[in-house]
Subunit: 204 residues, 2 copies
């Protein structure tokens, strides 16, 4: 099986398509997105795009899978040997940065969840579950050592996901509510969330 290395044009165009697809899928979801819309966003004709990716489904899977590793890396970085509040604080900060810098990725992920994760379900139940269980166990051990309040680590992780991704997924709502004073919302959110979680987790 011959696998020749991609040409410069191939690399560029595949990249433009993935960027365009991210935009469209994040807004309209898989079913709502059209290959015409993606091609238009990528600045090329539909048949031209389909020369690089044979189907809409393939584009979607490529974008989604390309995103996963980046998306989960902050959690993977949470270290059992670190100081609990430092580790959790760093995780919150990193996740807020990602909501600010990669809102489309967050919304694409949210869209996949809303339709029942037909593509990612397997990964959620295996790889993701395994990692979350592992990190939740670390949190439990911190709690048993009395270094943080006793709690189920799973729900702590969910709470951090929810609060941080909210600023990407519900960006319209956040901006609508905050109005003109909303410019510093990511910094304010980071400060608020660290206070909330730090005080909420401190052992008592």
């Amino acid at each position: 099986m011959q696998v020749r290395k991609p040409t410069r044009i191939q690399a560029e165009n595949r990249d433009r398509i993935k960027t365009a697809a991210l935009e469209v899928f994040a807004r309209d979801g898989f079913r709502g997105a059209t290959v015409d819309a993606i091609a238009a966003a990528a600045g090329m004709s539909k048949p031209n795009m389909l020369y690089y990716f044979p189907t809409k489904d393939r584009i979607y899977r490529t974008v989604l899978e390309g995103l996963l590793e980046t998306w989960l890396s902050p959690l993977r970085a949470m270290n059992a040997d670190g100081e609990p509040l430092r580790e959790i604080g760093a995780y919150i900060e990193r996740k807020i940065e990602m909501a600010r810098d990669f809102p489309l990725e967050s919304r694409l992920f949210a869209n996949e969840m809303l339709r029942g994760a037909p593509i990612l379900k397997d990964i959620l139940e295996t790889d993701l579950k395994q990692m979350v269980d592992e990190k939740a166990a670390i949190i439990s051990s911190w709690a048993e050592q009395g270094r943080i309040a006793p709690m189920d680590g799973h729900h702590l992780i969910f709470a951090i996901w929810a609060t941080t991704q909210h600023y990407a997924d519900f960006d319209v709502q956040v901006r609508s509510v905050l109005g003109d004073e909303g410019d510093g919302r990511f910094n304010d959110a980071a400060e608020f969330l660290k206070q909330l979680f730090f005080n909420g987790l401190r052992p008592r």
Copy 2:
């Protein structure tokens, strides 16, 4: 302008359509949903359905607007004269109940946000903003009185929205990660969140 009261059949069918539309729109979003799919879910032919609602757009607006008041009523119930932690705790509990009992409504709302809230934008910027500002002011006054920790009430409200709605919007993910032990997830979440927010908000 004659407005006759709806017949029994009209009332029933409009209701069936709205229920079916909620299901389909919550899963596939506005663009991804098809009138055929909604009609099928409602158990009637497409032209029959369009006899009751002239366009897909009209169905969507009807469902969305019918949802809004219910959706925001828990926040409206937050009372300045109550005891802060009791009020906030009751709000969290009510929101978790809604995530459990009305997940489709939550996901429909999420879908509308993800595509930039083209229908709800106006309401977000006027009615919603007004109410959130009002409630955030109450929270600020509690903070000034030293009854809770100082904070921006807006972000507290966002955090409660995010953490509670997460259990509806990301239900697949939550269930995938929790596995078979996930049955009590709404109760566990309520307990966890109350602990988190109570400790996180206590004045110090």
